[in-house]
Amino acid sequence: MRDDDDPNPKDPEAKPDVSGVSRRDFLKISGLSITLPLVGEPKMAMAAGQQVVVHGPGKVPMEFSINGRRLKADLEPRVTLLDALRDQFELTGAKRVCDRGECGTCTVLLDNKPVYSCSVLAIEAQRKAITTVESLMQDGKLHPVQQAFVDNDASQCGFCTPGFIVACKAFLDRHPHPTPEDIRHGLSGNLCRCGTYNGIRKAIAQVAQKGA
């Protein structure tokens, strides 16, 4: 997912602002042998010459804001946001396909920006507004992007569809009247195996015309 206003919203190395450790930092740290008691309180440790906050390695209490609801879980710090959503909160719209930021099927919004939830640690996503595909339908009515996918038959097996819906919504929020170039650029971060791109393009055109 690329976007002009926000050059790299899905960069897994983007600096975490609050909660401590990005997935990649964590991978670095977990290679070190640090003995820590199994408590919830974070510790400070030296890693790669820097003082970093260390959580775990056992489960730590976490609190999330997901689709406007406050939800709690005890999770290991190495759990991804995707796995937390799917395995802890039964929000299975976001799918696990590549599990390494290549396919976009796990796309969710973090503070309204699309991210690959497989490449964000759950612990980093605390205190951010997490929006998943499940929240887009309001009062039993499909969101215009969802309706456009139905009208234009933009899903076949449908496994890529929730990720695309979230990505398209975020894209159209920023580009209400996208050029073909915008579409090429802005929606290249999601992949489909069944070949639904033709329908997706028509769906985007439908929303852009009507206005979401």
Binding site: E90, C103, C194
Partner: protein
């Protein structure tokens, strides 16, 4: 006898219209549950230790440390010491633990000692004289053939011709049957000559398939006025289903298994699990709501489906989930056999093709693999063909949409296109001239070719091949394809309740092809009800069995069984309602949610009122396909399609972009035009993907797959897809043939059409797919250097 025939065009209100698929709202809202999404109470997570080597013997397997790790509930050795591993990623030990991380930690604690063995992972041209004839077949050979989905008749021929190495027990035969052997194959094995000594001989990696000669190729080549020779090929690709393979299994009591599995073959799974689990198929329940892609790779429970059930038993029957990680999915869960050939073709000056000769080879993994059906579509009168199957360690091959046909299309249409270029003929004229060889579909192709040329703007876009150009160049190409697509066996139960509600049950599955929608269209059309008035249940072995969704057989099967059920249910209802309307049953019709007397609008009942005449008990009928007792045959076989591609090639960078594709396709009577068109759009897109990007790249230095991820095993993205034009052939001459499947045909031609377009653009053939920049630059460089 009730009239089961499809309604004619004037009487169709739903069939053949563009109807939105019924499960789209569930899919777009994230509510649709796939196997991967199923979360059973107390579920354990399984992880698998896989072989890092392509060919090795297991010396020792030590799981003691893993068993003691926190959270680990069961450890199951899949292949123990002494077993031979035949490909990288093969399963050795499975672990079930309270969460995935604990299972992964445990897998890392397992120690395995391997004795590495020599391996082959390449499929380059076999060295001359290396191929040996087939000896007698061992039961492993026969199992391999089943794995490779060798057609039953071909297996019977080989068994009769070569004999077998040992007489199998009836138990072994039972096992073969559960692996898919037909009765004809089993009978052939029972009757085969036994050659016990031949079994011990080590096998060559190269196995000669029977050579075939037709007509008099030597004479035909001698008399041909123009001869063209070339090298063509299609590499291994993977299925790359976005939902990986896997299942969740639990034992609901000591001898009843409940499995959620990602499959194309719900009704066929219990029969395949029964033998290995020593559990009657009747005790195995399978359920699946949605499946995230299969493309031919999900017909069997697979070894991992079996050991997921076994490890669940070890963990006191608790649900265990094992879904493959992406790397495993790409390494072990599906590869399409490769195919390459040196082809020589000859023609008269007027373009009539007279002779074909091919030396082909390819790999389907340890099982070798067969020759694609070449020459494809065009039955050249004089032919000589030889094929060598390479048995190697790339992993097991699986059927991939239209098995062997996309390969055959490339080997044939590209060779013929080069011949047209040598003749200085426009390919549309050249292929058109030879269409009499495309019997029995020559007239369909002729009509489609004209339509495709028009939609592509072929006349304006085609130009003779030009040499030595620079900058951006454009070209167009064409290809032809065919497929069977007759409906499979399917049972359907339809129930009308006295309150007017209607339900349908089939043990079928919807792969994203629109199966649910089409079943409902047929039932709603027949009963004169809106689609929403009918409840449909599929995807469970508690429903009547329906065939696996492969080979484009689903739509013909389920639409036929549903039609027969709906006609019988409707007529039974008419019989009960007729007295109330003071009419004979055959005077009644059901339209717009009412049952009334034909031609007399004053005598009718609403659907609900009519159903109340059923009394206390609901009415259930079963429809079947095939059903000779209820003619006519509602499904048919044999379709033709023509596709054209336009490309733009950057001669500086070698980058190929497809700029337009046209697909003209027949598939008999179309049930839902909207999902039928989507099937074609999807196939074109998948075709662009395998033509430009996809290749399972094996490393000869390590025996491993180099690109087992989605960054380097690249799928086409939205920005790679140009204008796509799809034209479905419908109406007179097509509709009356009955319903024919569409899953395979449109995915066959893109490779050949795109390769031909690139040859037209740059003036020279890029021999192998995918048409990557390095390959394009290599031929441009050769040409410049020549």
């Amino acid at each position: 006898m009730p009239d089961y025939a499809w309604p004619d065009a004037e009487h169709r209100t739903l069939i053949g219209k563009r109807i939105s698929r019924v499960d789209s709202p569930a899919k777009v809202s994230g509510q649709a549950k796939y196997t991967y999404d199923v979360h059973r109470p107390g579920m354990l997570y399984g992880k698998v230790l896989r072989s890092p080597y392509a060919h090795a013997k297991l010396v020792s397997v030590d799981t003691s440390a893993a068993e003691k790790m926190p959270g680990v509930k069961a450890v199951h050795i899949v292949q123990g010491p002494g077993s031979t591993i035949h490909w990288e990623g093969d399963e050795i030990v499975a672990v079930a633990a309270v969460d995935e991380l604990a299972a992964e930690d445990a897998v890392r604690a397992i120690k395995v000692e391997y004795q590495q063995l020599p391996y082959l992972v390449t499929d380059t041209e076999p060295p001359q004289g290396s191929a040996e004839g087939q000896g007698p077949l061992s039961m492993d050979d026969i199992d391999d053939m089943l794995d490779n989905q060798v057609p039953s008749q071909q297996m019977v021929n080989q068994i009769q011709q070569y004999g077998i190495t040992a007489k199998p027990s009836e138990d072994t035969l039972k096992g073969l049957k559960s692996d898919g052997a037909t009765d004809a194959v089993l009978d052939a094995i029972r009757a085969a000559a036994v050659h016990p000594d031949a079994g011990s001989r080590p096998k060559s990696n190269y196995q000669k398939s029977a050579a075939q000669t037709l007509g008099d190729p030597d004479k035909a080549f001698a008399e041909a006025e123009v001869v063209s020779e070339g090298l063509y090929g299609v590499p291994l690709i993977t299925h790359c289903c976005l939902e990986s393979h896997g299942s969740i299994s639990e034992w609901t009591d000591a001898d009843h298994l409940f499995t959620h599995i990602s499959t194309q073959n719900v009704s066929g799974i219990p029969g395949q699990m029964a033998e290995p689990l020593k559990t009657p198929a009747s005790n195995i329940r399978v359920h699946q709501d949605h499946v995230g892609g299969g493309f031919g790779s999900k017909f069997s429970p697979d070894r991992w489906g079996i050991f997921t059930a076994q490890i669940s038993k070890k963990a006191d029957g608790k649900p265990v989930r094992i879904m493959l990680e992406r790397a495993a999915e790409l390494k072990v869960a599906g590869a399409r056999p490769s195919a390459y050939a040196r082809v020589k073709v000859g023609a008269k000056k007027d373009g009539t093709v007279v002779a074909w000769q091919s030396l082909s080879w390819g790999t389907g993994g340890p099982g070798g693999g067969g020759m694609p059906p070449i020459p494809y579509v065009f039955a050249v009168p004089n032919q000589r063909k030889e094929h060598t199957a390479i048995r190697n360690n790339i992993g097991p091959a699986r059927a991939w949409r239209a098995p062997n046909h996309p390969q055959a299309a490339v080997l044939t249409m590209c060779a013929l296109d080069d011949l047209a270029a040598k003749l200085n003929m426009d390919p549309v004229e050249f292929f058109g001239k030879n269409l009499d060889m495309a019997k029995p579909r020559q007239n369909i192709y002729r009509e489609e070719l004209a339509i495709a040329a028009d939609l592509m703007g072929w006349k304006q876009k085609w130009h003779p091949r030009r040499q030595n150009q620079s900058g951006m160049v454009r070209g167009v190409g064409v290809s032809f394809h065919t497929w069977g697509g007759r409906g499979h066996a399917s049972d359907c139960d339809l129930t009308i309740h006295p309150d007017g509600s209607v339900e349908l049950k089939l043990g079928s599955q919807d792969l994203g092809t629109g199966t649910r929608t089409c079943i409902l269209i047929v039932a709603a059309e027949t009963l004169g009800l809106p689609i929403e008035a009918i409840q449909l249940q599929i995807g469970d072995t508690i429903y009547p069995p329906s065939g696996g969704s492969g080979g484009s057989t689903t739509i013909g099967g389920v639409s036929s069984s549903t039609r027969r059920a709906a006609v019988d249910a409707r007529d039974s209802l008419f019989a009960q309602v007729a007295p109330a309307l003071n009419a004979q049953p055959d005077q009644l019709e059901c339209v717009n949610g009412r049952i009334g007397v034909k031609g007399d609008s004053s005598r009718s009942l609403s659907w609900k009122e009519a159903c109340s005449k059923l009394g206390a008990m609901p009415l259930t009928v079963r429809g079947k396909n095939p059903d000779k007792s209820k003619p006519p045959d509602l499904t048919n076989s044999g379709v033709g399609g023509v596709q054209m591609a336009e490309v733009e090639v950057d001669t500086e960078t070698g980058v190929v972009r497809v700029t337009k594709m046209v697909a003209v396709q027949d598939c008999g009577l179309i049930i839902d035009l909207k999902t039928a068109e989507s099937q074609c759009y999807g196939a074109l897109i998948m075709g662009i993907s395998y033509s430009l990007f996809e290749e399972k790249i094996m490393d000869p230095g390590t025996g491993r797959m180099l690109n087992p991820d989605m960054q380097f095993y690249r799928l086409a993205g939205l920005s790679d897809i140009p204008e796509l034009v799809v034209k479905m052939m419908t109406g007179k001459g097509y509709d009356e043939r009955g319903v024919i499947g569409l899953g395979e045909p449109p995915v066959i031609s893109p490779g050949a059409a795109i390769s031909n377009a690139v040859a037209n653009a740059i003036g020279v053939r890029v021999p192998f797919l995918p048409l990557t920049p390095d390959r394009v630059l290599a031929v441009l460089g050769q040409k410049a250097g020549a």
